[in-house]
C-alpha cells in the first residue's frame, strides 16, 4: 500500500517533497527522509564535504587503477631510475625506475584496503563488546572491560613485531595487529553510550514489552551507539593509515615489491635530499588521505551526534 507513494520515475522536486514529507506513509519513507535530512545537514558543512569528496576520489582512483594507468607497477626501467616528473612519468620514477604515478594508484588499493579491512574487523567487535558490557553491567562488564584494558595496554608496534615473529611479515599480519589494538577504544566508547542509553525510560518500556536482553541490545541500544562509533572510526582512519604506513616503513607490513604507501617511503628514504619527490609523493598521499578522513569524521560528528535533534 505504501509503495504507491514512492515516486519511481518522478521528477526531482517530487522526490524532494517525498523525502521531506512531515507525514511519511511508510517506514521506508520515514527512514529515507531522515537520511536525506542528515545529508542536507552534512552538505552545509564545506570542510566535511571536502573530506567526503577527497575520500571518494581516492577510493575511485585506487579501484580504477588498472584503467587509469598504462604500465605495471612492478616493471623496472633501471635506465630511468629516479627520474623527475615528466610527460612519460607524471610523478617521476623511483629507485628502480618504476613509474611513481602507477605505484601510487596501486598503492592506494593496498593502503586503503588495509584500512577497510581493519574497520570491518574492528567496528562490529568494538560495538558489540561495548554495548553488551554497558547494558549488562555487573560482572560481565567488569570482565569485558578488563580484557579491553589488556588489549589497550599492548603497544601496536610491539604486537605487530610479535605477529611478525609468529607468522610472517605481510599485510594480513599488519591488519590483524592493527585491528587487535584498535577495537578497545571503540568498545569503551560504545560502552559509555550504552550506559547512558540503558538508563532511559524507552529501554525500560522495551523491557516491559518482555524483550530479551539480546533483543534490547541489538535492536535498541546498538543503533544509538552507532553514530559516535562511526565518527570515532572515521577519525581513527587517519591513525590506521599512519600505523599501516609505519609498519610498512619498518618492514613489517607490506613487503617491498608491493606498492604500499608507507613501504614506498621506507624504500626510498635515502633519496630525500637529492630526489626529494620520490619519498615525498607517497607521503603527500598519506597526508591527504588522513586529512580527508579527519575532515569527514568532523563533518559526520555534527550530523550524527545523538545529542542533537
Amino acid at each position: 500500500m505504501s509503495d504507491l507513494s514512492t515516486p519511481l520515475s518522478g521528477n526531482a522536486a517530487g522526490l524532494r517533497a517525498w523525502l521531506l514529507s512531515e507525514t511519511p506513509d511508510s517506514r521506508r519513507q520515514a527512514a529515507w527522509g531522515r537520511s536525506y535530512r542528515g545529508w542536507l545537514n552534512f552538505r552545509r558543512n564545506p570542510l566535511g564535504m571536502a573530506g567526503l569528496i577527497i575520500v571518494l576520489a581516492l577510493l575511485v582512483l585506487s579501484l580504477a587503477a588498472p584503467l587509469l594507468t598504462w604500465q605495471s607497477p612492478d616493471v623496472q626501467h633501471l635506465a630511468q631510475r629516479l627520474a623527475p616528473p615528466s610527460a612519460a612519468h607524471w610523478l617521476g620514477t623511483d629507485e628502480l625506475g618504476r613509474d611513481l604515478y602507477t605505484r601510487l594508484l596501486f598503492g592506494g588499493r593496498i593502503t586503503l584496503g588495509m584500512v577497510v579491512a581493519v574497520v570491518v574487523l574492528v567496528a562490529p567487535l568494538g560495538l558489540v563488546v561495548g554495548a553488551v558490557s554497558g547494558y549488562l553491567g555487573g560482572m560481565t562488564d567488569r570482565i569485558m572491560m578488563r580484557v579491553t584494558d589488556i588489549f589497550l595496554s599492548i603497544p601496536q608496534l610491539i604486537l605487530a613485531l610479535a605477529f611478525v615473529a609468529a607468522l610472517k611479515p605481510g599485510i594480513s599480519s599488519a591488519v590483524i595487529a592493527i585491528a587487535l589494538t584498535s577495537w578497545p577504544p571503540i568498545a569503551r566508547l560504545a560502552r559509555a553510550d550504552a550506559l547512558t542509553v540503558r538508563a532511559n525510560d524507552y529501554i525500560a518500556a522495551v523491557k516491559l514489552a518482555g524483550a530479551s536482553p539480546a533483543r534490547i541490545i541489538f535492536r535498541h541500544i546498538l543503533p544509538l551507539c552507532l553514530p559516535s562509533v562511526i565518527v570515532r572510526i572515521t577519525l581513527d582512519m587517519s591513525g590506521i593509515i599512519l600505523t599501516a604506513a609505519g609498519l610498512g616503513f619498518l618492514g613489517m607490513g607490506a613487503q617491498p615489491p608491493m606498492p604500499e604507501w608507507g613501504t614506498m617511503i621506507a624504500s626510498t628514504r635515502g633519496y630525500i635530499l637529492e630526489q626529494w619527490w620520490v619519498p615525498t609523493i607517497p607521503g603527500l598521499a598519506i597526508l591527504i588521505a588522513s586529512l580527508a578522513f579527519n575532515l569527514l569524521g568532523d563533518g559526520l560528528r555534527d550530523v550524527l551526534d545523538p545529542k542533537q535533534s
Binding site: 507525514t23 511508510s26 517506514r27 525510560d201 524507552y202 525500560a204 518500556a205 516491559l208 514489552a209 518482555g210
Partner: protein, 250 residues
C-alpha cells in the same frame, strides 16, 4: 471473593545498601484505580517499578490477579500489565518511528494482525493516522504521551501502571490525557495504579488514595475523604493544605 488485581504486602525495596520502601501493603480490585501521592523520594515510583519488575532488589509479596510474582517476570506478565512513564520525551526511542515502537511489543508477544492493531491503537488514543511513520521529535509532548499510552495498551493489558503520566505536560494537555485515561478505563475495564505528586489529579482519577512519606504509606483514604478534609495523618493534611491554598486563591 475474587482475588484483587494488584496485591502488595509488606513490600520493601532496596537500592544498593539503602532501603527506600519500608514495608508497604495495599491492594487494588479489578477495574479500580488506586493512586499514590507523595513528594519526591517518598518511594511511590519505586513501588511501581518494583511491581513492573524494574527494581530487582525487593522483598515481601506482590501478586497480579492472585498469581504471586517472583524475581523474574514471565512474558505473560507483560501482556497483562503495562506502564506509562512520566516523561514522554524520555520514554520513546528517539531513532525509531512510532510505527516501529508500537510494533515491537506485538512482535515480542508474537501477536498477529500487527498492522490493524497499530491503526486501531492510534485511533483509540486520538492520534491521526499520519502520525504513524513519524519520529518522536516530530510530535508534541501531548502526542508523545498518547503514543506511550497506545504502546502500553497495544497488547491488551488489564493493568496499567501510571508513573506521573501528566506532570511533564501543559495543563491543557493534562486535561486531555486525564480524560483519555478515564475513557479507556471505562471502555476496557482497566485497573490503574497511579503515582503523582498532584492531589487534584489523583483525586480526579482515583477513588482510593495512598499517601506516601519517607518510604512508608502513612495513610490510605478515599478521594471523597481527601476532598472533604477528613484526613488522619499530618502529612496528608499538609499536602492537602498546600493544594487547596492555591485553588482557593484562584
Amino acid at each position: 471473593m475474587a482475588a484483587p488485581m494488584i496485591a502488595i504486602d509488606g513490600l520493601r525495596v532496596r537500592f544498593g545498601a539503602r532501603e527506600v520502601v519500608h514495608g508497604v501493603s495495599f491492594s487494588v480490585a479489578r477495574g479500580a484505580s488506586f493512586g499514590m501521592v507523595g513528594e519526591s523520594g517518598s518511594g511511590k515510583s519505586t513501588i511501581l517499578r518494583a511491581f513492573a519488575g524494574l527494581a530487582p532488589d525487593w522483598s515481601g509479596a506482590m501478586a497480579l490477579d492472585g498469581q504471586a510474582l517472583g524475581r523474574r517476570r514471565a512474558r505473560d506478565f507483560f501482556r497483562r500489565c503495562q506502564m506509562v512513564f512520566q516523561d514522554p520525551y524520555g520514554s520513546l526511542h528517539p531513532r525509531q518511528t512510532i510505527d516501529r515502537q508500537l510494533a515491537e511489543p506485538l512482535q515480542i508477544q508474537a501477536m498477529d494482525g500487527i498492522d490493524a492493531r497499530i491503526r486501531r491503537a492510534l485511533e483509540e488514543v486520538g492520534l491521526p493516522a499520519s502520525a504513524r511513520f513519524r519520529y518522536p521529535h516530530q510530535l508534541s509532548g501531548g502526542q508523545r504521551q498518547r503514543v506511550a499510552i497506545a504502546r502500553a495498551l497495544i497488547t491488551g493489558p488489564e493493568v496499567l501502571l501510571l508513573d506521573e503520566p501528566t506532570s511533564a505536560l501543559d495543563v491543557s494537555v493534562q486535561a486531555e490525557v486525564l480524560n483519555l485515561l478515564a475513557d479507556l478505563q471505562a471502555a476496557r475495564g482497566l485497573t490503574y495504579l497511579m503515582v503523582t505528586h498532584n492531589l487534584a489529579v489523583v483525586a480526579h482519577l482515583c477513588p482510593w488514595i495512598g499517601v506516601m512519606q519517607g518510604g512508608e504509606m502513612v495513610e490510605q483514604l478515599s478521594a471523597a475523604d481527601l476532598r472533604a478534609g477528613r484526613v488522619a495523618h499530618p502529612h496528608t493534611a499538609e499536602l492537602r493544605a498546600l493544594s487547596t491554598e492555591l485553588e482557593e486563591a484562584g
